[in-house]
Structures are given as structure tokens and as C-alpha cells.
Amino acid sequence: MEYIPIIGLEVHVELSTKSKMFCGCPADPFGKQPNTQTCPVCLGLPGALPIANGKAVKDTIKFGLAVNCKISHFAKFDRKHYTYPDLPKGYQTSQYDMPLCLSGVTTLSDGKPIRIRRIHLEEDAGKMVHEKLDGKRVSLIDFNRSSVPLMEMVTEPDFHDTESISAFLKEIQLIVRYLGISSADMEKGSMRLEANVSLFQSQDTSYMIQDIDLPDYKVELKNINSFKFLEKAIKAELKRQEALLESGEKVKQETRGYDEDHDETFSQRSKEEAHDYRYFPEADLPPMRFSDEEIASIKDSLPELPQSKREKYSQWQLSTQYIETLLSDKTRGEYFEQAVTVGQKHNVSAKMIADLMVNKSLDKEFEEPEGLVRKIVELTKRSYAEPEAVKLAVEQVVQEQTKPVNDYKNGNANVIGFLIGQVQKILQGQGEPKLIQELLLRELQK
């Protein structure tokens, strides 16, 4: 029996807009005093109403365009109901059946396409803190994060190995950072991952991966806070599922978490306990309409994306390792490209700049790319002999090499190279070729 992993991803990205999704409060809750960035709207007070953040909508469309999605001409917000202390309205304003972006695709470096089902915009919840206060165990709620814009991307179950998942997620993180719409920082929680994992059982191995039917269950892995742990969690989960299937058991549809210490997944919520979110259209927010012109104008505003840069750098003869190193840091990549532009004027190649940046981190020493190029020019410039020494050497050669000098005077211009070589010999190779030739010709004219 052969098992093929079938994995789809859900990626949440907190957008780094100035204000929150539905109110004017600052959208940067990280490290702030609890409940200092709140207002009636994000506290869900009676009577408060949302106003959609246009920048967040635009940023989501930008991301959608960057991963080749179709942008909806008509989109709306919906209410997703569930009860939790950190959700002040009792529902999350999200998008259900008419998200901003649909059916995109991103190609991995090995050429594998990963289809993107949808990208929608919603709001984040507050944060629960459980601690001891005056000797009593208490649960506290910080609403600073409540209503921070959250973009959610859902892929098709196109992953069959964990390596592709890491590659895909790194690329998504890179695109988000290049668009400048989020720090996509896993540690700060501005990028969060979920995976839907199942196994396809095959009796023979002659299947085509695009022909296989999806299994009739999926296990959702939630609350995983790094790429590395996601990879480990999926591997552990695949192992668990394979063991179950191998022993003839069915795998239950459920939500599971990952225990890092024991390297195993554990059940969090079964299918029976799944929420009925009772989605319905959010009447407090008018539906959104986008014309072809608006979408085209957003598309025009996109910066150059990693894939395009990758192709450009490759034309500059950079190795894959250099390319990825430089791309991985957007600011550093920009610095590199500026240096290349400056370098062109001084005969300094992109490859040389890349080499000194990647291997010697020379860019760390110069704030401006101009400084780096100047340094490279200096490093590569050879120190030539003093003109006076060259002059003396030329005179000496002309005096000593009477035969070639005569040949030259009789019209054999070929000997000039030999004579230059003789001068360099005296100068121990430190002479500037142009100067030697100039002085030599002048001496020979005498």
C-alpha cells in the first residue's frame, strides 16, 4: 500500500496598515500596554458600527494580484458567529461566499504549481492572557489586537510533501514583504499557519497525482507558530494517519494541535463539536465594487516581485544561492540593485557586488551603495609604479634592446609588445600598460 499526503494550507497574515480594519485605532498592538488601543468599535460596544479600511482592502487585492488571483468585481463582508471572550461582538466580520480574490496560482522554484482557492479579508480577535493576580488565577482580555486587519489565503490541497510547503510559505512571506503589506513575522504572530492533512491510499503506484480523488476526511492542524514546527507537525500527523490506515482504522475528521515536546499531534475539537458559524451578509458595511480600471491601476502600482527579480539576477550571472540570499531581505536586495546601477559606471559587475555582499557582508560597512562600489573599485585597482620609474625603465630598455628597437624603426610594429614586456619586467609588473606604451612610443620617436 502506498500513501500519498494530500495537504492544503490556510495562511493568515496581519496587515500592517496604520489603523485597524473597522475603526481608527492603531493597528500595531505588539508590545503595547493592554487595552490602550481601543474604541467603541473594536470593543464591540453597543451601538458601535464598522467602517471598512480601504487600505487593507487594497493591500489584499495587491496580494491577490501578486499570486495571480482573479479579483472580484463585487465582494462583501459577512458575519461569522462564534462565542469566545476575546471576540467582543460575538461574531467576526469576515468574508464568506464573495471574497476579494479567487483562484490564483503560485509556481514553486521546481516548477510545481500551487493553486490558491481564495483570499479574503477579516478582522483579528483580541488576546486572552491567563495569569495569577493577587494570588488568584485569572483570565484577562487585551483588545488591542481586536479588529487588526487579517488577510486569509486558502490553497487547494496541492501539497504532497513538506519541503514544498516550506518553499511555498517562504515565497508567500517574501511576496508579502515585497508588497510591504505586512512584516509576516511568525514570532510576532503577524503570520499564522494552518494545514489540512489527509492521506490518499493507493494499491498500485502507477497513479497520476492529478487523477487521485481527495480522501473523505481531513485533519486540521492549528496554532502552529513556525515553518519548522509546521513541517514537524505535518510529518508527525502523516505518521499517525498512516499507522491508523495501516491497521484498517478510519481517520476521524477533527482539529488537532501539535505538542512540540513529544513531537506528536493531539485532538482539539472533533467534527461533531465543529461550529455552525451562521454566516450572513454584514448589513453595516456596503458591498464593495471594483471596476476593471481600478483593478488595473492597483496592478500597475505593484512593485517588482521576487520572481521577476530572480529572473533578472539570473541574467546577471548570479548563482541561485546568491540570488536567494539577496532576495530574502527586501532592503538588502534594493541596496544590491542600487549598487549594480552605480557599479555599471565603474566597470564593477553585478556578480562581483553580489559576491562581496553575500560572502564578505561588505554592504554592512557602507550605508550607501555608492560607498560599497567605491570600496570595490579601490580594492580592485592595482597600485602602479610611479611615472618617473616608468620613464627610467623605458629609457633603459630602449638603450639595451638595440635589435628590437632597430626592427621597430625599420617598420616592424610587432616588437612593441616585447618591449613593453621588458619594461614591465624591470618594473616587476607594476607599470600601467597605457603609460608604458605612451612613453615607449615617445622614446622610440626620438
Binding site: P40, G44, L45, P46, G47, A48, L49, P50, I51, A52, R79, H81, T83, P85, P88, K89, G90, Y91, D276, R278, Y279, F280, E282, A283, D284, L285, P286
Partner: protein
Amino acid sequence: MDIPLTITETQKGLLEKKFTAVDLVDAYLARIKAFDKDINAFITVSDELAYAQAKEADQKIAELGKKAFEQFPLLGVVTAYKDIFLTKGLRTTAASKVLESYVPPYSATSVERLTDAGAICIGKTNLDAWAHGSSGENSDFGPTKNPWNKEYVPGGSSSGAGASPAANFSLIATGTDTCGSIRLPANYCGLVGLKPTYGAVSRYGIIAMASSLDTVGHLTRSVDDARTVFNITKGEDGKDGVVKNMPMTSTDKKLKIGIPKEFFVEGLDSEVRKSIDEVIEFYKRHDVEFVEVSLPHMKYGISVYYIIQPAEVSSNLARYDGIRYGNARSTFSDEAKRRIMLGSYVLSSGYYDAYYLKAMKVRTIIRTEVNEIFEKVDAMIAPVAPTPPFKLGAKVDDPLQMYLTDVYAATANLTGIPSLAIPSGFTKNGLPLGFQLMGPRFAEETLFTLGEMYQKETTFHLKAAKL
């Protein structure tokens, strides 16, 4: 002192120094003190705030004279706010024990606008808890009585808002209308009630009932006052995304009113019918043309309303989760629980398409029918309710019977059009009668024009209930 009945009368008296704003507050508070224990129009009376604002008004009049009223069009206008309008620092309960001790940290946009225009806040009026009801009997703070006859309901859900001006506890009152909650109390209490176009007045700071249906309006004695208040509350505030600044349309040409034939059928009380027939005759004498129109799908209006409204109610009440505001969800009274259950049911997966989605589709059909009618006529005339005010307790044990009180109200809310309820006489038992005029979206001015035409030659609206 004789309590003035309109804004014009009030401001004339203030300017001519017949009385001061403080005198007015004295007079209203005296009446509240004397009679409200029987009427129960108020949940909270705000004496201190009223006196502070009255003193400020008197000072402005002293400083600016006549100009004060140009600068502050509602200067000296003693206002009662439905207790679903958030008032910063002043308890706001929605007439529910769930919010019994809730003091909001901010004020509704309309409260701010009225206050900035010089209005004086006298208190917060009673209502069916969360605006769930048509009689005022669903209040957790006890029912409000009709000032015209205390055995009768004042209409709901803005029950206190109907009773307060009718009993001269305030000059005007604010209300919300999700399915008749302004027009019904206006109708039962002999007042003018404006339910504005959905999207004309900000809902920010009003405790939400059903978000796609809630409108924010007011109850006054005269149509002129309804217009004055509307001109202050209407327009974008940057906080309610559905509000638009739209040019208000009106017309000089001969007006044409449609009579929806489905509204004048069996079940309509004969006294209500007779009063409206007289109104139609009045308008005909004043060169207004009448044509019969038809709303074939409106018979589904109440069904559609009682799917969409509970759905939105169940969602809007989710925030009172028992973690904040100090009271558990078990504190909700029966009507709220009923609507939470109905709403959760129609939104549940497997039922959504059959109920909510279907209702939304019918709503679209009704809207199309209404739009088509307004291509032919400037307004529609209709009863506000099938009967005159009914007795307290008559329908309270039969929610379905109570829901049918809203049958004529639903059209305007489901389609977002404005409606103006106007008093048109009294039953032989001395209870108020009235009618409503509906117009196309943002055509409030047409309704005001028609309403003023009527009030110029009638005095029903200037009669005060004897307590």
C-alpha cells in the same frame, strides 16, 4: 405656564421672554413628577443635565438674541431620547435588565447633533426591551401607558417616545423604527412620526436591533418640527458606512398619491378606514391626484420581516455574552430569547437557503415593486396599523397577533423608503387615529410638503392628552 406644543412656539416664547429654558425644564419635570408614575414613559430622568443645558440655552439667548436660534436651531427644545440612544455618562438600558447598569462612554451621532443644535435632554424613554415589540409591554421596566387613555398601549417599540410628547413630558422625542417602532407610537399617541430613508440618518451609537432595517427618527407634534429635526440629524458622520449625503428631492408639480389596494382590505378597522378616506378626500380637494397601485408580494412582507429581523437580532445580541455588562444571557426576557432562537435557526447551515436567503429574495422583489410604483406616483398612503390603540394585555400572550400589528409598517423598512405618520382624528372613544405617507428613498421633503398641506388646515396634532 402653558406648555408650548411646537418648536416655533417654544422659541417664540423664549425670545419674547414669556418663559426661560429653565422655566420650561421646570414645567416638564413637574409634569413628569406628577404623572409619570402612572404613564411610565421614562426609564431615567436627567434633571441635572436638563437644567445645565437649559441654563446654557438661556445664556445663549441672552448673549445672541434672535441670532441664537439661527445658530442653534433646536435651542430650548426639550427632548426625550429613546433609551436605545447612547448618551455619554447617562445610563442607557435598551429597557433590558441585561444593560440595567450600563453607562455608555460615548454618545450616538444623533444625540450629539441634537445637543449641538441646542436641544435639552430631559431623560431616557421606555421601550419594548431591545425595541422588540409593538405595544411597549415587552419592557423590563414595566409597560408604558397611553396618555390618551391609560388602559391602552401607547404603541411600540418607542412607547415612551410616543407617550412623552403626548403627555407634555417633553416637546419632542427620538425613536428608532425597524418595523413601525416610531410610526406606531406616533399613530397611537396623536403625534407626527418620521421614519427616514434607510441611510439618511446615522445609526452610530444606537443599540442595534436589525441592522438592515433600523432607522433613526423622531416624534413631534407638527410636520414642520419633524423637518427641522431631520435637517439636523440627517447626513454622513463618517461612522455609519450606509449613510449617504443625498440631495433631497421635492417637486412643485401636481402631486400624485398611490393607494395600495392590498392595504385596504378586510381586517382594517372601520374607524381607521373612515379616517383615511377623509384624508384622501382632503387631499383631493387640494388638487392631489389619487391612483390605485398594487404591491402583490407585500402579503409576504411580515413573513419576510420575521425571518430577516430575528436573524439580525440574534447576531446583534451576541455581544451581550455575559462576560461584560454584568448580566448573564439568561437575563434576556422571553421576547429577546424567542428572537435569538428564531434567528439562530434561520441562519443555521441547512436552513439558511430555505429561510434567510429566500426571504432576502422576496425582499428584493418587494423593493422592485415599490420602485416601480414610485415611477408613477410621488407617494403612497396607508394605514399605520390595522386598528386604533388596543388595551394593555390584549395581545401580550399571543406573539403572532402582536407581530401582525406591524403589517403596514414593514413595507417602508424592507424597502428602505421614508414614511411619515400623521394624526388624522380620534375614535369615538377619544383615541388617536392617523395615516402614513411613504415616498421614494430620500424624498422626505415630498412627505413634509404633503404633511404640512394637511396640518395647515387641521388641528388634530395640536390637541394635548388630559392627564
